[in-house]
Symmetry: C2
Subunit: 205 residues, 2 copies
């Protein structure tokens, strides 16, 4: 692209480094900001800087937090015996949005994936094992995505816990609510039959 | 969405104010920045601030510029007698990318659109009329989008110029190179026949 301004070019280059944003979209965003009041750009830049400099991760569960411990870990209303193991903080948000879960979390920060060079040592697995040892956790719920990497990670953690007195479970795999049965893949459909639940239970929500 | 951090929430809110970016995309972008080196966020924020504070518009043609006059207006290699009238600076970039045009530009900053409350007084039309009067421009090329608003704007400017000694032209409307004839709309196809060019001319590129 042919910019008549180095400043504009630099702004477009910076914005287009964000994932999923190409040069054309970056230019559109930057020109939009130019048309808005100066305060909007200021507020955007400041909040990005503040986010990068001040945002912390909870020392216990590795969720994002404004303090050393996150709001969920310090809450008295959460079941301290139950820990849900998730890949990243977006999964925490997704589960929190369901309002169905009242335990704690543990954010691994990824999944074991030799293809991407991610091994167990790159994830928050040691701190999870420590939590199980020290906090008297009764049940770990594995809530990783049902992929090969997710299953590998579940199995690795499960093996690490073999000497410890803790129950493990995984979230149910099955047909999504509202989905058409005929379009479900065979593995999911097969599992949903294998792990069928008593009809009376299925009516609870 | 349920953020466990006010700082994160503020960053996501700010980013999601950009056009075409919802909360989910904003969260993805923000979390991406969190995983990158701190310098990337710094550079992004600084370039946005610098863009908003230091970027100027050319006093002559209203194109973006790092100085009072843009690089195109001060260039000695451009034909000073030819001015291409465009809607915004993205159109300047698009035409510059063709490398087919060696004249100057005039950026209107929009099109006359009563529906959106944009009248002639909101656009850079008076400065265009002044340029025609003072700079001895020989030809104005209207290169606005071929919409009702674009045609209205062309006609308004054309009327304003009626007492002045300047030629006007519009960019050719026709079938795009590579397009299938059968899928062209009737108006475009009709115009392309009405404004057919001698075959010898069509072979020049």
């Amino acid at each position: 692209m042919n910019f008549s301004s180095k400043i504009l070019e630099e702004a477009v280059n910076q914005v287009s480094q964000l994932p999923g944003i190409g040069k054309r979209t970056a230019l559109r965003l930057v020109l939009h900001l130019m048309r808005q009041p100066e305060q909007q750009t200021d507020a955007l830049a400041q909040s990005l800087l503040s986010m990068r400099n001040d945002l912390k991760f909870c020392k216990k569960c590795h969720n994002v937090s404004d303090n050393d411990l996150c709001e969920i870990c310090i809450s008295h209303n959460r079941d301290q015996n139950l820990v849900c193991v998730v890949e990243d903080i977006r999964d925490v948000m997704a589960i929190e949005n369901t309002s169905q879960y009242k335990g704690l979390y543990h954010v691994l920060g990824g999944k074991i994936s030799p293809m991407d060079g991610v091994g167990p040592q790159d994830l928050n697995i040691p701190s999870l094992i420590n939590r199980v040892k020290e906090e008297g956790i009764q049940e770990l719920i594995f809530a990783l995505s049902p992929t090969i990497e997710g299953d590998t990670t579940n199995f690795y953690i499960y093996k690490q816990l073999s000497d410890l007195d803790v129950n493990t479970s995984t979230i149910a795999r099955g047909i999504a609510v509202g989905d058409e049965l005929e379009f479900a893949d065979e593995v999911t459909l097969g599992r949903s039959i294998l792990h069928r639940v008593p009809y009376e239970n299925s009516m609870k929500s």
